[in-house]
């Protein structure tokens, strides 16, 4: 029992910390790209401002409009957050530092990540607001469209690694000596990153939030701590999907040439560094790109990404069998 509690505590704390670090990175990255100081006052050069932000949201009034579907409205943020935290359970920081090394690790991760869609859709539906509804529907359409390329991109990795366990995938990359992104999964990696960006609803795929069109999309009616949960989940999702991407494609907790017997010590540092690099790319994209239109996003998913990922699977399979 204590074992489980420790693991759950570790999970929640690690995911929350990841989210906070990514928030700092996003906001500081934004201010850097926009030639302005950014947050400066809380902590050393404003670097612990997310804590102040959290405190601010917690003490704010949690406004629930009268017309909303109360239980659904109240529970929707929880769905989103649970799906994010559960996703983190299978990400290995080192061969031993992993909450659950499941046999079907990546399968579990992809299945759980769809759960968040329910939260977003119900948030949009229950808000009794037309903008929220449109945001929710956009989110649903988008998440369904991008779930497919996400899964298909992973299939290539699974074929190459011959396992679905995330630890197994990393071990295979150590065995090969190079991460999969070098060893033939470049296309898969790109598709995964694009689909993951859409999955976490970040620019240029942030139509469900689309503040210039839908004010705040499915989050419009939320305030106080419930809004905070959505807000943190967004960054948690970003953190975890980046961690999964680095595990699948960038060699996870290991870098070539480092001695494998010390992996338990440097593993977490290596993984978090890779995650942060991917996260920084997402930050750079967010603050430099406009937003796609909903139909253009669907076109991109169904006409480009899915065929490309199918070809990627085919090529990977042929290479695997042939060589």
């Amino acid at each position: 029992m204590t074992d489980v509690l420790v693991k759950v505590g570790f999970l929640a704390l690690a995911a929350l910390n990841g989210a906070i670090i990514f928030t700092i990175m996003d906001v500081k990255g934004a201010s850097w790209m926009q030639r302005r100081p950014g947050p400066l006052h809380v902590g050393l050069r404003g670097f612990i401002f997310p804590l102040a932000e959290i405190l601010k949201f917690v003490q704010k009034e949690d406004i629930i409009p009268t017309e909303v579907d109360r239980p659904v409205f109240k529970w929707a943020p929880a769905y989103v957050m649970v799906s994010c935290v559960a996703l983190f359970a299978v990400v290995p920081m080192s061969p031993t530092l992993v909450v659950a090394d499941l046999e079907l690790g990546i399968f579990f991760a992809l299945a759980i990540s769809s759960l968040g869609t329910i939260g977003v859709l119900t948030a949009g539906w229950s808000s009794a607001n037309k903008y929220s509804l449109m945001g929710g529907l956009r989110a649903a359409g988008q998440l369904i469209a991008y779930e497919l390329p996400l899964i298909l991109a992973v299939v290539g990795v699974v074929i190459q690694a011959e396992t679905m366990s995330l630890v197994g995938i990393v071990e295979k990359q150590i065995e090969w000596g190079v991460p999969f992104v070098v060893g033939g999964q470049v296309v898969g990696f790109l598709i995964f990153m694009v689909a993951a960006t859409a999955e976490m609803m970040r620019v240029p795929f942030d139509m469900p939030i689309g503040e210039s069109e839908l004010t705040m999309g499915f989050m419009t009616e939320y305030s106080g701590i419930r809004f905070l949960i959505f807000y943190i989940s967004e960054y948690m999702n970003m953190f975890i999907l980046c961690a999964i991407a680095s595990t699948l494609f960038l060699g996870g907790y290991h870098v070539p040439l480092l001695p494998t017997e010390w992996v338990n010590f440097y593993g977490p540092v290596v993984l978090l560094t890779k995650t942060a690099i991917l996260g920084f790319i997402l930050v750079a994209v967010r603050w430099s790109q406009p937003r796609f239109r909903e139909d253009q996003l669907q076109n991109l998913a169904w006409k480009i990404l899915i065929p490309a990922s199918l070809i990627n699977i085919l090529v990977t399979a042929v290479m695997k069998v042939g060589f």
Binding site: R36, L137, W287, Q289, D295
Partner: protein, 398 residues
């Protein structure tokens, strides 16, 4: 709508590629007056089917301040304060046609130097207005960064306007017969009136060079962006005929391919002394409207640089009576403002103030095409099209 389940329509049924049509109801979406992308308090009542917009009715008047009526109880020098606030993004250029109208009725010849100063400040107002458009438009199609660049660059221009007039947005600088002595020029004596602050020429040259650089940067940062092109090209196409029929003017008209610019057509300011191009678009889509404005910024900067070099010396103010009374008569003076044609129809009965003042503003006529342009557009396009018209609510409602 064909009921495909009706046995009589079975022929249609077998031929149709989509077999069952679901009966749907259009949703009425109320956009604004409090909405992040309506530039203030414009309200659009849109009928939407999913993401598709079928019918749009703009509702105006949330910012009506009754300037035309107020002008009837104010004297001519007082009215410049009012008209500053019509299109607040380019405050200075609102004063010009009104002052020019009053001067025409009084038959005053304005000194060349005053005209040049007016021209320089008008072009600066145009540049600052287009900077705001650039940033805001990028924001509307979802790019969050360019507005910070635009505001930073605009501040250089506003600093110059402030150094001359004392105000960033509402200069209130024109006087009937000329301009007032500059704010930053220090103590003045009657004999030696300093009109421009020290270092103005040097600072302007630097700032205008920066404007040209900034326009180039926008062409790369926004115009070169694939997503931006996808969002704006072939969206909201406005043909030249429709634009002219609806009384659309300014950059929007020119983006539709009509080379019409009041700076060359009328003589309210000495534009004929300078060389500049009039950028014209080809397709009349959102991208062209954006592109024309960015190119206009460069042309305006060039005009300012030329005007600085050829600045004539002489008095700032023509001889005018102490109490300004405009003789009986009526006149209409129009000018090319950043948003389009702005005109004042002044009816004077010989008193201290106008008997009637009709203000023709660009934004009001420009947004009259909104229902037409938005029909059949998608909701994100609605924002993109609306943003590309670059209206200011103060300019719409007055």
């Amino acid at each position: 709508m064909v009921n495909t389940l009706d046995p009589q329509n079975f022929n249609n049924f077998s031929e149709a590629s989509v077999s069952v049509e679901i009966e749907t109801e259009d949703m009425t979406l109320n956009i604004g007056p409090q909405h992040p992308s309506t530039h203030g308090v414009l309200r659009l009542v849109a009928k939407v089917d999913g993401e598709k917009v079928y019918d749009v009715k703009p509702v105006l008047g949330y910012m009506h301040r009754g300037y035309e009526k107020l002008a009837e109880v104010r004297s001519y020098p007082q009215i410049t304060t009012l008209v500053n606030r019509i299109d607040w993004v380019a405050g200075f250029s609102n004063e010009i046609p009104f002052i020019a109208g009053a001067e025409r009725l009084m038959e005053i010849e304005v000194p060349e130097r005053a005209k040049h100063i007016r021209l320089i400040l008008t072009e600066m107002a145009r540049i600052s207005s287009h900077f705001v458009f650039n940033g805001a438009y990028a924001l509307e199609v979802g790019a969050l960064t360019p507005i910070f660049y635009a505001m930073e660059d605009r501040e250089r221009v506003l600093d110059l306007i402030e150094s001359v007039t004392g105000g960033r947005f509402h200069p209130n600088f024109n006087r009937i017969g000329g301009v007032k002595p500059a704010a930053g020029s220090g103590p003045t004596t009657k004999k030696d009136i300093q009109d421009l602050p020290a270092g103005f020429y040097r600072d302007t040259k630097v700032a205008m060079q920066k404007v040209i650089e900034a326009a180039d940067q926008f062409q790369n940062l926004i115009g070169g962006n694939e997503v931006f092109k996808k969002r704006t090209k072939n969206v909201g196409i406005l043909t030249a005929e429709t634009a002219e029929a609806f009384g659309v003017s300014g950059p929007i008209l020119r983006a539709s391919g009509v080379k019409s610019d009041l700076r060359t057509l009328t003589d309210y300011l000495p534009y004929d002394q300078f060389e500049y191009d009039i950028p014209v678009g080809e397709n009349g889509d959102c991208y062209d409207r954006w592109d024309v404005r960015v190119k206009e910024m460069v042309e305006s900067a060039k005009i300012v640089l030329q005007a600085i070099d050829s600045m004539p010396s002489g008095p700032l103010q023509a001889k005018v009576p102490k109490v300004i009374k405009v003789p009986k008569g009526r006149t209409y003076v129009r000018a090319e403002n950043p948003k389009g044609e702005m005109g004042y129809y002044i009816v004077s009965d010989g008193g201290l103030g106008p008997y009637r003042l009709k203000v023709r503003t660009a934004s009001f006529s420009n947004i009259s095409i909104l229902p037409l342009l938005l029909e059949g557009a998608l909701l994100p396009d609605l924002i993109a099209i609306m943003g590309s018209l670059d209206f200011v609510l103060g300019d719409v409602d007055r």
